[in-house]
């Protein structure tokens, strides 16, 4: 029974070494992953229409490999402001006039593209 007193410690040590093992293994597969040659530098094009509070196509996650570019064409039925989080780009929207944002993927993560008046999420860009 005495051995059980050490159990909480053993569990914690195990857990911590688990974290250590996993994280130490990461740089190899994380930074070493080469960006597929076909996608690097390629340009993806996507058109989005905003009518009132309805976004067409419905908001979805768009995959964008590091190094490639998303050309986002947005047409709204009202004056608004277009903002791509993380890419730090904004563009004014004039009612009925398509506006184009070019988003080049750099840091892996998920970034939302939204309008401000009203606040709508248009899509999210998953950079991998």
């Amino acid at each position: 029974m005495r051995a059980f007193r050490a159990l909480p410690y053993a569990v914690c040590v195990l857990a911590l070494s688990g974290v250590a093992a996993c994280s130490s293994g990461t740089p190899a597969d994380g930074s070493g992953t080469p960006t597929p040659a076909v996608s690097a530098g390629t340009v993806k094009r996507l058109e989005v229409t905003v009518t009132g509070t309805t976004v067409t196509p419905a908001p979805a996650q768009v995959d964008l490999p590091v190094g490639s570019t998303l050309e986002l064409v947005v047409t709204a039925d009202h004056d608004d402001e277009l903002h791509a989080h993380g890419f730090d780009v904004e563009a004014p929207l004039k009612a009925g006039v398509p506006a184009t944002l070019r988003l080049t993927a750099e840091e892996p993560g998920v970034y939302e593209v939204e309008t401000h008046e009203p606040a709508l999420t248009l899509l999210s860009v998953a950079v991998r």
Partner: protein, 441 residues
Amino acid sequence: MVVALAPAHGVGSRGDLPLPFAALVIGAVAALLISFVAIGTLWREPRLRDTDGLLLPPPVAAVLDSGWPRVGARVLAAVLTVWTVAALVLGPDSARNPVPHVVYVWLWVGLAFASMLLGPVWRVINPLRALHSGLLRLARVSPDLAALPYRWGLWPAAVGLGTFTWVELVAEENTSLSFLQLLVAGFVAVSLLGAAVFGRVWFDRADPFEAWSRLLGLLSPLGRRADGRWVLRTPLHGVNSLRGQRGLVPTVAVMLGGTAYDGFSANLSWATFVQTSPVPSSLLKTATMLGFFGLVALTLWVASLVSVRLAGEAVRESFTFVSDIAPSLLPIAGGYVVAHYWSLWVYQGQYAWRLLTDPLGTGADLLGTAELTPNDALIQPTLVATIQAVSIVVGHLLGVLAAHERAVTVLDRRAAVIGQVPLMVVMVIYTLGGLTILFAP
């Protein structure tokens, strides 16, 4: 057409990639295995004692006891406070202002990580505590001055934490300068008023950031054992030292529910539903956030109810028992915090230095960090996914162990094994829910 501008909001503009399916499955299987193995094989008598722990080497303990680390931390906190207040009052109302990062990244998330590592640090560096005792000293009155006895337990802290969660996740324009001025002024006013009426105990019990730091700080490996000496111990020892008290259940519900809602609200289908719904979005978000708080409290109480009925006790016992088992949810809450906020903390936390160096928006570079590029080594996708899955599962494991210890302590031997099953079921639900939220943002 494209105009490159500074971002409208600086905080939280980057989210984590969805958890890989493999990590979801491994995490879920591990959580289920841990739970079933725990029921059958764990200890039958209370195991954790407040005399446990590895003593720190005497020189290290002497430094910790000398007071110098506290003085140093207080001075740094005071300098940062003055710096931040200057930016709050005189700084620009733009993304160049450091205040949103200080409040939403350093204070909220950074405090959580610092507390889980070192213990209840906010108690030591809380600038409002210092302001309150300074004012009393100036007025030459006793530091224990209080007009009324305090008797609400953690309830005001739960309300405060819930309000802050709402401010962070629901309120619009929550990074604008006027909003932050109102927020900070309101919080300082309420705190000083509370401390004036109820005395210092206001900070001990009612202050939301002290509660956040103290409860997450129970998970720290650093602590004092019963005789006051510094020891290294398991997170379970800290959690086990917390006794049921008024307001603990709502506080834990807000901590767990708030983080879960944060993850959930990033879901695109949810965003689509909110923005196309005829119901005003802020109303819908507020109601859903409150629903998350309520769901945690309700499921915890139902688990408690089933437990006491299985043990053959009266229904009213469930209200005390729910408070007894609430501390064992703290490791799960801590796991959620690490999983959801790791990348925000290690990335945006660095970015804050770029803004702090120019608090008044004059183009100054007072700290020499204007050109700092946040190091992204700690937010590599594989590392982030690993940390997320591991922290959720470790939180679950510690939660199960803490609940087991509490069950064998509080319930009689016959009822202990069966009595902890309902809580374990609830924990499995929280853990699978937490992993799912990370998998499908």
